[in-house]
Symmetry: C2
Subunit: 76 residues, 2 copies
DNA sequence: CGTGTAAGGAATTCTGACACG
DNA sequence: CGTGTAAGGAATTCTGACACG
């Protein structure tokens, strides 16, 4: 589930979010898709789950910079 | 692993085969990708494994029509 | 039969920017 | 801050065909 295989359009289908939102989360260092030779982003299923979680947290009032370390550590 | 999420280019990367080969296997009813609104094929990880297996069988001398039922039944 | 290729079109994705608030 | 959109370009994929054998 860690294989970066899907393009942003598929992530949109799976999450219901827009390309803009997904690219923004990357810009804010919350997700890290890989790039094809042509420059297209490729995501994993784990990324999809992460994106969903990020969106929920944002709706809950958190800010992107507060979610940056949310992968493991939460203290500080 | 049954989610149809990757485009043909990704399948090529994962299998080392060409788009031509992958499309041909579909034409011969050996794999069944889904289509996006735009007409692009989407494959699952299971499809990737299947494609690899098909290619090996072909190298072993089998013909596409002999691999059609190979999913479950093999008698007859 | 299984696969290569050149051909033209259509759909996808990319970046940087202006906008709102 | 997080997200929407119009803008133009570049990369991806599609189909049908001719080729070889």
């Amino acid at each position: 589930m860690n294989d970066k295989v899907m393009s942003i359009g598929t992530v949109c289908d799976l999450t219901g979010l827009t390309e803009r939102q997904i690219r923004y989360y990357e810009e804010k260092q919350l997700i890290f898709p890989v790039r094809t030779k042509g420059g297209a982003r490729k995501y994993s299923f784990d990324d999809v789950e992460r994106v969903k979680e990020i969106n929920i947290k944002l709706r809950d009032g958190f800010h992107t910079f507060e979610l940056r370390k949310a992968g493991r550590a939460c203290g500080e």
